[in-house]
């Protein structure tokens, strides 16, 4: 319904231009990308778009063998994945059969009819193989399943145990977790730490604190009825705690994913941070000189998830059933395990967490088996609902928190300014509902 509407609007647009008539049937061409090889042995061609290092290429290479009726054309996309996907969706052409969708999958919910409901192909049969909260993130509140679980991002506290030891704090993972069950206790430990080690900051930056507290929260910024709840107690608490970290001068004020962060980690001027499991590799690359001096443990505030992705079958696919079967096979628990071993993707199928391949001492983390920590976190994440406005709302908190941290903005005023700005932007989209 909505698609034919769109087509009509395209035509209206085109009549102003010069290619008007050419636009007829714009939604028809789904994937003439690669010539239909089907003729040879009745194979159907399936196009797949995925990020580099989000699926093990060796598994993809076996798909054609595994499925005699399928020819898979995987296209690896590095940067600007979402922009490329949006252009083809907006242009109604050359949309892949299967596409990766990031942790912001809930922003696609209003357009769920652009995707197949994977429940229609029997997804429920494998549902219990995956973490419940992860599975639910790919399903709309109305029970329409867009995304099939790929990897996850359980969070933990990363810390320099050598520095903690030097400061007279507990350093064994279990003891640290016990000593800092809450964010308040974590900050208090930070105060003691910095008294003993004045040249090292306790944590990296306060937007990390905010992000990670929210990553532990089952409630986000919108409820399932689409009401804005980002002014609620659960968000205000995260905001206030972030501000407190700033006021206690615990933050080294180095934002993630910058060269400054890398340098700070490598030269030991930051003692701890809370991050997802995929930060392991980033840390190992950033701070090779600190090898063996890190441990991880349960994060203050408990289990959380940050990041992770999904696979979806678009409505443009002529072979959704085959596409679903391929997804199911590629993301089967043994293959998720293989992807963990090969490219460090953390599985969303908990049955493999006890595999010996996932449990071994890791040199960078002082011989610790970090999977014990991350698997516990992954199992205990409380299911959250992110809502269609997530990509609009979430950056605004970070933007104003950064103003508090770097521009000396008044925290209370900044909080109200944040809410005003969110309200303004959501109203513009007709998404603001109280």
């Amino acid at each position: 319904m909505s698609r034919s509407l769109t087509r009509r609007e395209f035509l209206k647009a085109a009549s102003a231009g010069i290619v008007g008539s050419a636009l007829l049937g714009s939604t028809a061409c789904s994937s003439p990308a690669s010539p239909q090889r089907a003729s040879a042995n009745q194979r159907v061609t399936l196009n797949l778009w995925y990020w580099n290092r989000s699926i093990d290429d060796k598994i993809l290479a076996q798909v054609d063998q595994q499925f005699p009726n399928v020819h898979l054309v995987p296209q690896k996309i590095g940067g600007d994945f979402k922009a490329k996907l949006l252009v083809s969706l907006a242009g109604h052409a050359y949309v892949p059969d299967i596409t990766g969708i990031n942790a912001d999958i809930s922003t696609y919910f209003p357009d769920k009819d652009q995707f197949y409901n994977l429940y229609d192909f029997g997804a429920h049969k494998v549902q219990r193989e995956y973490l419940k909260w992860k599975w639910d993130e790919g399903v709309t509140p109305g029970g329409y399943m867009i995304g099939y679980p790929m990897d996850t991002g359980p969070t933990a506290l990363f810390y320099r145990y050598d520095l903690l030891e030097k400061a007279g704090l507990p350093s064994d993972p279990d003891e640290v977790a016990r000593a800092m069950p809450t964010w308040e206790a974590y900050f208090e430990a930070g105060r003691k730490f910095q008294a003993a080690m004045p040249h090292v900051h306790w944590l990296d930056d306060i937007t990390t604190v905010f992000t990670q507290i929210m990553a532990q929260s089952p409630k986000q910024y919108m409820d399932k009825e689409g009401r804005f709840i980002g002014d609620g107690e659960h968000v205000k608490r995260a905001w206030d705690l972030s501000v407190r970290a700033h006021q206690m001068d615990l933050s080294g004020n180095v934002a993630g994913f910058t060269t400054d962060w890398n340098a700070a980690m490598d030269n030991g001027s930051i003692a701890t941070f809370v991050g997802a499991v995929w930060m392991k590799l980033i840390l190992e690359q950033a701070a090779p000189d600190t090898k063996g001096k890190w441990h991880v443990c349960r994060a203050p505030g408990g289990a959380g998830n940050n990041g992770g992705s999904f696979l979806a079958v678009t409505k443009y696919s002529k072979h959704p059933k085959e596409a679903f079967e391929v997804i199911r096979w590629v993301q089967s628990p043994p293959h998720q395990l293989q992807a963990y071993v090969e490219i460090d993707l953390y599985p969303s199928a908990p049955s493999v967490y006890s595999s010996p391949k996932m449990n071994h001492p890791e040199a960078f983390y002082g011989g610790q088996n970090t999977n014990l920590v991350f698997s516990t976190s992954a199992r205990n994440v409380r299911p959250g609902y992110f809502g269609p406005g997530y990509d609009i709302i979430n950056p605004i908190y970070g933007q104003y928190l950064t103003n508090v941290e770097t521009q000396g903005a008044n925290p209370e005023a900044a909080w109200h300014a944040t809410l005003d700005e969110i309200k303004r932007q959501l109203s513009h989209q007709g998404m603001y509902k109280k």
Binding site: T107, D111, T258, N403
Partner: protein, 308 residues
Amino acid sequence: MSVTGIATGREEGKGRTWQRAAGYLPVYASIAPFYILFAVFGLFPIFFSLYISFHSWDGIGPMRFVGLEQFEYLVTDNNFWISIVNTLVIWIMSTIPMLFLALVIAFLLNSQIRYRGAYRVAYFIPNVTSIVAIAIIFGSIFGNHFGLLNSVLHAIGLHQVQWLNNPWGIKVAIASMVVWRWTGYNAIIYLAGLQSIPGVLYEAARVDGASTPQIFFRITIPLLRPVILFTVITSTIGGMQLFTEPQILVGNSGGPGQAGLTMVLYLYQQAFTKNLFGYGAAIGWGLFVIIVLFSAINWRVVQRAGVR
């Protein structure tokens, strides 16, 4: 610099229009490729983006007609105004030193100086250095706490600056990246322009006892005016559409205080990260109006400066 033209040659006597039109045929044929390509590939996108600017559209689902709402929102959108100011400030901070340095470098490289071939390559290198490398390197240079620049400031006893946390620091960093990347490129343009200035003019001036600065200001600059106009207009358009440099340095958000949020970065952020295609188009049209105005002003300024 007068315009000759076939018209002047053939007009006398034969006044019949069809013949005149036939006379113009090769002229129109010469410029036709651009306009044909524009008609095929340029017109539809322009109308299309105008069309979607009257809609609310996430790029995936159906469009919803909203009339002038996007434009009303645009003029009241503080972030848009911030992006205009940022863009203009960064433009001034980067373009003036860039074009001046480029002119001086081109002038020096055009003289009978030794190793000028090697210099040319060296000054051109920034234009081929990969963007990924530039992102890492400028991040390291302007790092807030562990940047190379701060190490230097510290070593000579000056205060360190949190470059990428400070509204002016961010602008300085972006502007210096622009200057670094595009000075050599503009120098190459001027160098090409200098080739059209007859050497005898320099010789005659030297014989008359003119000094190097005199030659530079009295001969080089006036004769280069069309090329200078080209660089001013292209740097105006390029500067107003500044995108890559701020994006790799401070990301799609524009950095702390949105101090690095330029107009096109804002457009990209709204359309491709927040799925607001209708609003993105409206920003694009706002941007277009500003570019036209600003280019017209600069065109006048350069032309006037030449009249004297």
